[in-house]
């Protein structure tokens, strides 16, 4: 292999220098800090993120709502939203382990939101969608050139909302509204309660709950993002950051110069890139097998392969 981590210009282990922000962030606060910096510098004039019901109640016009009855929207349901300030970014920080269709706002961002320079965070597949929209803008008029910063987050898989509900409420035996944070790391699914309790579930339980579309996904570390980041490879509270494109390089360079992040060489931290590479390989190998299986799925009938 060797291509499992995609092209990148540099890779470090990093953490935001904003201690307040870190309290709300999932890992090293890379996404939130980088967008906050880019907003302040005018590199972006808004960012598409995964917000939640509380945010939507406060800023309904900033969200892409579905047809659910608002009062019935559950805790931990992501709501794609466009944010314009650091406070709004922080309100949307943290990982929601279920689907947030962030790309659904990409066109609207340039329309009723009036953005000229869009920031967007998303999973590797969402970064793929963004790049396809730029290169093959079939239904994405005047969008491509407005994408100013695409931050990708590493992703092994994602879950439908109902899966998270069952994992937390059945397996971890906690109410979703009393959950403070969820995390996957060190081979476990971790659920942290607001009252301080911690439940860990072995990852093998989570497999049946995964979104099937993830099983053909061949990108672990958001190869097509400007900057991609995830927890894997870096110590707790730190993030692994890969700077990939010219845009990414320029923004990251400026943010570093402005003192937004403290860093350590990725070679110096444990477990380092080796683990990232290992996990990337595992994901890609497993999902390539799925694709092969799909080719001979029926009797003389294949399931579709989106890559050919």
């Amino acid at each position: 292999m060797g291509a499992e981590l995609g092209n990148y210009k540099s890779c470090v282990s990093a953490r935001s220098t904003d201690k307040e922000l870190l309290k709300h962030a999932q890992d090293g606060g890379i996404v939130t800090s980088l967008f906050a910096f880019a907003l302040e510098e005018g590199i972006i004039d808004g960012a598409i993120v995964a917000a939640n019901k509380e945010f939507a109640a406060k800023y309904p016009s900033k969200c892409m709502m579905d047809n659910s009855n608002f009062d019935m929207i559950e805790p931990w349901r992501p709501i794609p939203a466009i944010v314009n300030t650091k406070a709004e970014l922080i309100a949307a920080a943290g990982t929601k382990y279920n689907i947030s269709p962030n790309v659904s706002l990409l066109k609207e961002a340039t329309r009723s939101f009036g953005l000229d320079k869009i920031g967007i965070v998303g999973t590797p597949c969402q970064m793929q969608a963004v790049r396809k929209a730029q290169l093959y803008p079939i239904g994405m008029r005047d969008v491509g050139a407005s994408i100013a910063l695409a931050v990708g987050i590493f992703c092994m898989e994602n879950f439908p909302y109902q899966s998270i509900l069952q994992l937390v409420e059945d397996h971890a035996a906690m109410k979703l509204e009393s959950v403070k944070k969820m995390e996957i790391g060190k081979g476990k699914f971790w659920v942290y309660g607001k009252r301080g309790q911690v439940v860990q579930l072995p990852l093998k339980i989570t497999h049946k709950y995964e979104q099937p579309g993830c099983h053909v996904c061949l990108d672990y570390v958001a190869n097509l993002a400007d900057v991609s980041t995830g927890s894997v490879g870096s110590p707790d509270g730190w993030s692994t950051v890969m700077v990939r494109s010219k845009i990414g390089d320029s923004v990251w360079g400026k943010a570093m110069a402005a003192g937004c992040f403290e860093t350590q060489p990725i070679e110096k931290v444990k477990p380092g890139l080796e683990l990232v590479t290992k996990l990337a390989n595992e994901k890609i190998t497993k999902n390539k097998k799925t694709l092969e299986g799909r080719a001979t799925f029926g009797v003389g009938k294949a399931l579709r392969n989106p890559y050919i």
């Binding site: 790049r131 803008p137 079939i138 239904g139 008029r141």
Partner: protein, 253 residues
């Protein structure tokens, strides 16, 4: 002139929105015409009245098979063009003309409309309603590279155009159903929301992270499916997005 590709534009039963989309390359349109494209035939924008022999023909609109002239024009377009590009939902998939059923004055017998691919072989599809200026621009630049470029550029252009050629080969019918049958039912949807953004009539909403199609709104333009990263994703080309975008922008300077 010799360096340019010759281009024609056949207008059938379309609304001219596709033409406007082409013109919406703004200053880029002028550059395209200066450097790459010799527009031989396009009655809306130029004076030529008859279909000419060209390298590339863009066709807007579907064909009313009850109208002799329209049928002749699509056949003549095929005969006189090396490459035929179906531009827009109407030419590719019928779009709103799929709903036509005749009975209106002053030609009540104009009732049957077909996407051009049902009458001629089509090489490249640009779906969407309206199609986008940037997609038209990208295909025009790639067609130029394909016909006039170096070996390397030809390879790139071929790779770029391949999925659009496959769309053309795949058929003449599209609507929200394609997302259901070819993406969701195939276990491929991952909830990115691209389809909802692509739809020109807000027919798609994302419910619990998955697309819901309001089929009474869908106009059958094909944008959602072809924009979906799980309809086609040619990693080899898309992962060069930075270089290709830069090359296209440089070409239009």
């Amino acid at each position: 002139m010799a360096d340019k590709i010759t281009v024609g534009y056949t207008h059938l039963s379309g609304c001219t929105g596709c033409t406007v989309a082409l013109a919406d390359n703004y200053a880029g349109l002028l550059t395209l015409l200066d450097k790459y494209v010799d527009l031989k035939y396009m009655p809306t924008l130029a004076d030529a009245r008859h279909i000419q022999q060209v390298d590339v023909s863009f066709v807007e609109g579907s064909v009313c098979i009850n109208d002799k002239l329209a049928v002749e024009e699509i056949k003549e377009t095929r005969e006189k063009s090396a490459i035929v590009v179906a531009l827009g939902g109407c030419a590719c998939y019928g779009n709103i003309t799929r709903f036509s059923r005749g009975g209106q004055q002053n030609q009540p017998a104009h009732e049957a409309y077909l996407p051009i691919g049902d009458l001629i072989k089509v090489d490249v599809y640009i779906p969407g309603c309206a199609p986008t200026p940037q997609m038209i621009r990208n295909v025009a630049v790639m067609a130029y590279l394909l016909l006039k470029g170096t070996k390397e550029q030809k390879d790139l252009a071929t790779a770029f155009l391949t999925p659009l050629m496959k769309l053309a080969a795949a058929g003449t019918s599209a609507c929200f159903c394609e997302l259901m049958t070819n993406v969701i039912n195939q276990g491929l949807c991952m909830g990115c929301g691209t389809c909802a953004a692509a739809c020109p009539v807000n027919a798609i909403t994302m419910e619990y992270g998955k697309p819901q199609g309001e089929r009474d709104l869908c106009i059958k333009c094909g944008a959602c499916y072809s924009q979906c990263p799980r309809s086609f994703f040619n990693t080899d080309v898309i992962s060069q997005y930075e270089a290709i975008n830069e090359a296209i922008m440089a070409a239009l300077q």
